[in-house]
C-alpha cells in the first residue's frame, strides 16, 4: 500500500459531484449542496488504495460496468463508486472514506480482481484512517464508524460526513429525526431539515430545479402607515439557497421546435380574432354524444370545428395553400389535411386528419380518437405527422381566450380556439341570455392572404358553427 504524506490542510472542499451515484438517496432528492472553502491547488492528505472487497460465494473477479464518479470528484463515506457484475449478480461498490478520487484502476468492461486496488482516494490526513481498513474482509457494515453526539442524554447516531454537514449548517443533530437504521441521522435527513427551514420547495425528481425561497416583505417604508397593517418581520436566519443553474443541450423535441419556429419567423403574420356563440352547437353535441358512444367513439367539439373549417376552405382555397421558398409560386392544395395541435409529455406535436373535404363529422371523430391514442402512447407515424395544409389549435382545453398562434410552415394559416365560457349576451329581442362563447384567433401569411379574405373565411366558419343546421346545406 502506497501512502503519500503531504502537508495536510484543515479544510476540505465539500462539493457533491453530480456524478455521484444516481441511486444514492440523498442525490436523488437534491441536485447538490455546494460549499466552497478556500483550498490550495496542491494535494493534501494521504492517498489510500481502496481495494475491491469480497463479493462472496468464492468469486475472485468481476466486470466493471459503470463508474458513478470520475477522477477529481469528491466522495463521502457510503457514496456509490461503481457498479460491477459477476455471474448474474450486480454489485454496488460504495466508498469507505471521505475524500477525493485520484485514480480509477479500471475502465468500463475491464475485469477487476477481488483484493486488488479499485480506486485511489485521497483522504484528509487529520482523520488518520489506518490502511488496514483496506484489507479484504467481511462487508463494511462491521467496520462502520459511528459517532455519537450526546445531547440532553440522547445519543444520536450519525456518520462523520453527516456530522460535518450538520456542524456546517449549525444544526443540532438531536433536533433532526433520523430515518436511517436504528434512527441514525442520514445526509438526506439534514438536507430535508434545511429545506424546511428555508421554505425551499423540494424538487419531485432529480431533474427539477429548486425554486428560490419566497421572501416576505422586504422594503418596509419608514413613513408611518395610515392602516395598521401587520407587516411580517423578515426572518433573520441565514437563508440557504441551494439551487444552481443547469445547462443542457437542446435535443429531440425542443430541437424540432427551434427549427419550425425559426422558419415560421420568416412569415409575416397578421392576426384576426372573433367570438363565436356556440350555444346551439353545445346542444347539438349533447344530443349526438350518446350516438357516437354507441359506435364506440368519443365526440368532442373538434370534429365540428374541423369540418366547418374545411367547408370554409372550399370557398377560400388560398387559406389551404403553400408559398414556395422563393415566393414565386402559390400551390393550392387539393386535400384539406387539417392539423390538430396536440400536447404530449414531450411537447407539441401536430398530426393531421387527411382529406377532411370527403369526411363526415363522424369520420373525423374516429380519426381524431385514433390520433389521440397514438399520440399519448408516443406512437404516431410519419404519415400522420406530414402533409398538413391547415392547422387548428384547441388551446382552450387548457385555458385562455385570445391567442397569437404561429403558422406552421409550409402552411399559410392557423387558428387558435380559446375556452368556451358562459357569458351574458343580448338576443334578437333585446333580452339577456346565457350564451356559450368561444374566442377564435386566426393568424395568416400576409404575403398571400389579405385581411378581407381572412375575415370572410372566419365569418363563414362562424356562421356554420353558430347555426349548425346550415352546415347540412353545404355538406358534400
Amino acid at each position: 500500500v502506497c501512502i503519500h504524506r503531504v502537508r495536510s490542510c484543515s479544510n476540505i472542499r465539500f462539493i457533491k459531484s453530480k456524478y455521484v451515484c444516481v441511486f444514492d438517496k440523498s442525490a436523488l432528492k437534491f441536485s447538490h449542496q455546494q460549499r466552497l472553502f478556500r483550498t490550495s491547488a496542491v494535494s493534501c492528505g494521504q492517498i489510500v488504495q481502496f481495494k475491491l472487497s469480497d463479493i462472496g460465494e468464492g468469486i475472485t473477479e468481476v466486470t466493471v460496468k459503470e463508474w458513478y464518479i470520475k477522477e477529481g470528484d469528491s466522495v463521502s463515506q457510503f457514496d456509490s463508486i461503481c457498479e460491477v457484475q459477476s455471474d448474474k449478480a450486480s454489485v454496488t461498490i460504495t466508498s469507505r472514506y471521505d475524500g477525493v478520487i485520484r485514480k480509477l484502476h479500471y475502465s468500463i468492461d475491464e475485469i477487476a480482481l477481488v483484493g486488488k486496488p479499485l480506486v485511489d482516494i485521497e483522504i484528509d490526513a487529520s482523520k488518520g484512517v489506518s490502511p488496514e481498513e483496506d484489507v479484504v474482509e467481511t462487508p463494511p457494515m462491521s467496520h462502520e464508524e459511528h459517532t455519537h453526539q450526546e445531547i440532553k442524554g440522547h445519543k444520536t447516531l450519525a456518520t462523520p460526513a453527516v456530522r460535518r454537514l450538520a456542524m456546517e449548517n449549525n444544526i443540532k443533530l438531536s433536533e433532526i429525526v433520523g430515518t436511517g437504521k436504528d434512527n441514525r441521522v442520514l445526509k438526506e435527513d439534514i438536507l430535508n431539515y434545511l429545506a424546511k427551514q428555508t421554505g425551499a420547495i423540494l424538487p419531485p425528481s432529480p431533474k427539477a430545479e429548486i425554486v428560490p425561497p419566497l421572501r416576505k416583505t422586504e422594503a418596509v417604508p419608514a413613513a408611518p402607515k395610515d392602516k395598521a397593517r401587520k407587516i411580517p418581520v423578515p426572518v433573520s436566519r441565514p437563508i440557504v439557497f441551494s439551487g444552481k443553474d443547469k445547462t443542457e443541450p437542446v435535443t429531440g423535441f425542443q430541437k424540432a421546435m427551434v427549427k419550425t419556429m425559426s422558419a415560421a419567423l420568416k412569415i409575416p403574420h397578421f392576426g384576426y380574432c372573433d367570438e363565436i356563440d356556440l350555444t346551439q352547437l353545445v346542444q347539438l353535441r349533447e344530443e349526438l354524444k350518446p350516438l357516437a358512444e354507441i359506435r364506440g367513439v368519443k365526440l368532442s367539439f373538434m370534429p365540428f370545428f374541423i369540418k366547418a373549417a374545411s367547408l370554409g376552405l372550399l370557398q377560400y382555397p388560398i387559406l389551404n395553400a403553400s408559398l414556395d421558398e422563393s415566393c414565386q409560386n402559390v400551390t393550392y392544395k387539393a386535400s384539406h389535411n387539417i392539423g390538430v395541435a396536440m400536447d404530449t409529455e414531450q411537447g407539441l406535436i401536430v398530426p393531421n386528419v387527411k382529406n377532411v373535404q370527403v369526411c363526415s363529422v363522424f369520420d373525423i371523430a374516429v380519426e381524431l380518437n385514433r390520433l389521440q391514442s397514438l399520440g399519448s402512447a408516443g406512437q404516431l407515424g410519419t404519415s400522420d405527422l406530414t402533409g398538413g395544409t391547415f392547422t387548428l389549435s384547441n388551446i382552450g382545453t387548457i385555458g385562455g381566450t385570445y391567442a397569437k398562434p404561429v403558422i406552421l410552415p409550409p402552411e399559410v394559416a392557423i387558428g387558435a380556439l380559446g375556452k368556451i365560457q358562459v357569458l351574458p349576451r343580448y338576443n334578437g329581442k333585446g333580452e339577456v341570455f346565457k350564451a356559450q362563447i368561444m374566442n377564435v384567433s386566426w393568424s395568416a401569411d400576409h404575403r398571400v392572404i389579405d385581411g378581407a379574405t381572412m375575415a370572410r373565411f372566419s365569418n363563414l366558419w362562424k356562421s356554420y358553427l353558430e347555426n349548425p343546421a346550415s352546415m347540412l346545406l353545404d355538406l358534400k
Binding site: L28, G56, E57, K65, E66, S90, T92, P249, G252, T382
Partner: protein
C-alpha cells in the same frame, strides 16, 4: 415527525396483523410478504425500497410478486439486443430494467417472482434455490427438478423453469428468481426474439434456453399453490409462522419514498438511457420506384442517444444540405422512434415542397425508424 414506515410498522404487530413471532431476534427470524400489485415498476420499486431501508440483520425477508405482461432486462443489458421492442409497443407490453444483473425474462401472471432479502454476509443463492426445489418436491414428489451450477432450476433435466439474478449493496443483498407456472410461451418466445441486426455491444447477453411451464407437467398446479408451498418451506426453515403479509406498493405511508422509486424505474433515462454503449452497422434495403437500394448505416449509441450517425446514400439522392440537416438532427437525439419521427417530420416542413423529395425522405426515415 417520523412516518409510520414499513420497518416501524412491522414492530407494531397490530398494524399489519403480523404475529409477534416474526420479530423474534433470533438468527432465523424471517418475514414473508406478498405484493397486491401486478405492476412491474411498483414491484421492482418495493425491492429497491427494502434493499435501501430495511435492517435485515434480525430478520430475512421473502417477497412474493407477480406481474402483468412485461419484459424485464438485467441492469447492464441492451433492450434492442434482447427483445422485439416493436412488438412490445404494439402489444402494450411494458419494458423494465431491474437493478440486479443477469439476463432478460418475460413476466406475466403465470410466472411468479421470489426475492430473498438477506444481509450481505448471509447472501446465499444456492441455499435459496434448494429451498424452492424442496418446496416443489414437497408439493409434488414426482417432479424431477434440480438446481444447476448456473443457478437455474431445470425440469426433467432439460427445461428451464427458473432463472436467477442478484443485487448486492453495502450492507444488504437480494437474490430473486422466477418460476414458470403457466406463462404464455408463445408470447414469451416472440417478444424475446430481437429483430435488430448489426448490433455490437458489451452488454450482458442473455443465454436462450428451452422452457416449460410446471402446469404442462402437472395441470393441477396453480401459481397460488406454488407461492404457498414456497412460503411454507421458507417459514419452516426460518422457524416462523406460515403467514403471508400483503403489502401495497402504492402505499407511501407504509413505504415512504416508494413513489419516487417507482417513477424513476419508468423514466426513459433508466430503461433505455442505462444501456451500455453500442454500435449498429447494418444495411437498409429500400425499394424505390423500380429498384432496390442498399443503404449502409453506421451509428454509435451511448446512454441511449445517437452519438455518431452515418448513412451511405447514393450521391445526390437527397440534396446534400438536407442530408447534413438529418444527420445533425439525429446526433444527440434519443435512439427512439417517437423522437426521431418528430424530428424528421419537422425537418420536412422546412425543406422544398417537392413530392419526389418528400417520398424519398419518408422512405429513408421510415427505414431508419425501423432500426429503433
Amino acid at each position: 415527525m417520523v412516518l409510520q414506515s414499513l420497518k416501524n410498522c412491522l414492530g407494531l404487530s397490530c398494524i399489519l396483523r403480523t404475529p409477534k413471532a416474526c420479530f423474534r431476534s433470533t438468527a432465523s427470524g424471517g418475514l414473508i410478504i406478498q405484493s397486491v400489485s401486478n405492476d412491474v415498476y411498483q414491484n421492482l420499486a418495493v425491492e429497491d425500497w427494502i434493499h435501501d431501508h430495511m435492517d435485515l440483520e434480525k430478520q430475512q425477508i421473502l417477497f412474493l410478486w407477480r406481474n402483468s405482461p412485461a419484459v424485464v432486462i438485467g441492469r447492464h443489458q441492451n433492450p434492442w439486443q434482447e427483445c422485439n421492442l416493436r412488438l412490445l409497443r404494439q402489444k402494450n407490453i411494458k419494458l423494465a430494467r431491474r437493478r440486479s444483473g443477469g439476463g432478460t425474462v418475460y413476466h406475466d401472471l403465470g410466472n411468479i417472482n421470489l426475492t430473498f432479502f438477506t444481509t450481505r454476509k448471509k447472501y446465499q443463492r444456492m441455499e435459496n434455490l434448494k429451498l424452492v426445489v424442496k418446496a416443489l418436491k414437497a408439493l409434488r414428489p414426482q417432479l424431477d427438478v434440480h438446481v444447476t451450477d448456473r443457478y437455474d432450476i431445470l425440469l426433467d433435466r432439460q427445461y428451464k423453469i427458473s432463472g436467477t439474478a442478484a443485487k448486492l449493496g453495502r450492507t444488504s443483498a437480494y437474490h430473486h428468481c422466477t418460476l414458470l407456472c403457466n406463462a404464455d410461451k408463445f408470447v414469451l418466445s416472440s417478444v424475446l426474439k430481437s429483430p435488430y441486426k448489426g448490433l455490437k455491444s458489451n452488454a450482458t447477453p442473455s443465454v436462450p434456453a428451452l422452457v416449460k411451464n410446471l402446469f404442462e407437467e402437472d395441470p393441477s398446479l396453480t401459481s397460488e399453490m406454488l407461492l404457498d408451498a414456497i412460503a411454507k418451506e421458507y417459514a419452516a426453515q426460518h422457524q416462523i409462522d406460515h403467514h403471508i403479509t400483503l403489502i401495497n406498493p402504492a402505499d407511501e405511508t407504509l413505504l415512504p419514498g416508494i413513489s419516487n422509486k417507482t417513477k424513476e424505474l419508468q423514466t426513459w433515462e433508466w430503461v433505455y438511457g442505462k444501456t451500455p454503449k453500442f454500435s449498429i452497422s447494418t444495411c437498409l434495403n429500400m425499394a424505390y420506384q423500380d429498384s432496390v437500394l442498399d443503404i449502409k448505416v453506421n451509428m454509435d449509441v451511448k446512454n441511449g442517444k445517437i452519438e455518431v450517425c452515418h448513412i451511405d446514400l447514393p450521391e445526390q439522392w437527397l440534396p446534400p444540405g438536407l442530408y447534413s440537416e438529418l444527420v445533425k438532427s439525429l446526433t444527440g437525439s434519443k435512439f427512439c422512434p417517437n423522437e426521431t419521427t418528430t424530428l424528421v417530420t419537422t425537418l420536412l416542413r422546412v425543406c422544398p415542397q417537392d413530392n419526389e423529395l418528400h417520398s424519398r425522405w419518408s422512405l429513408l426515415c421510415e427505414n431508419m425508424i425501423m432500426l429503433m
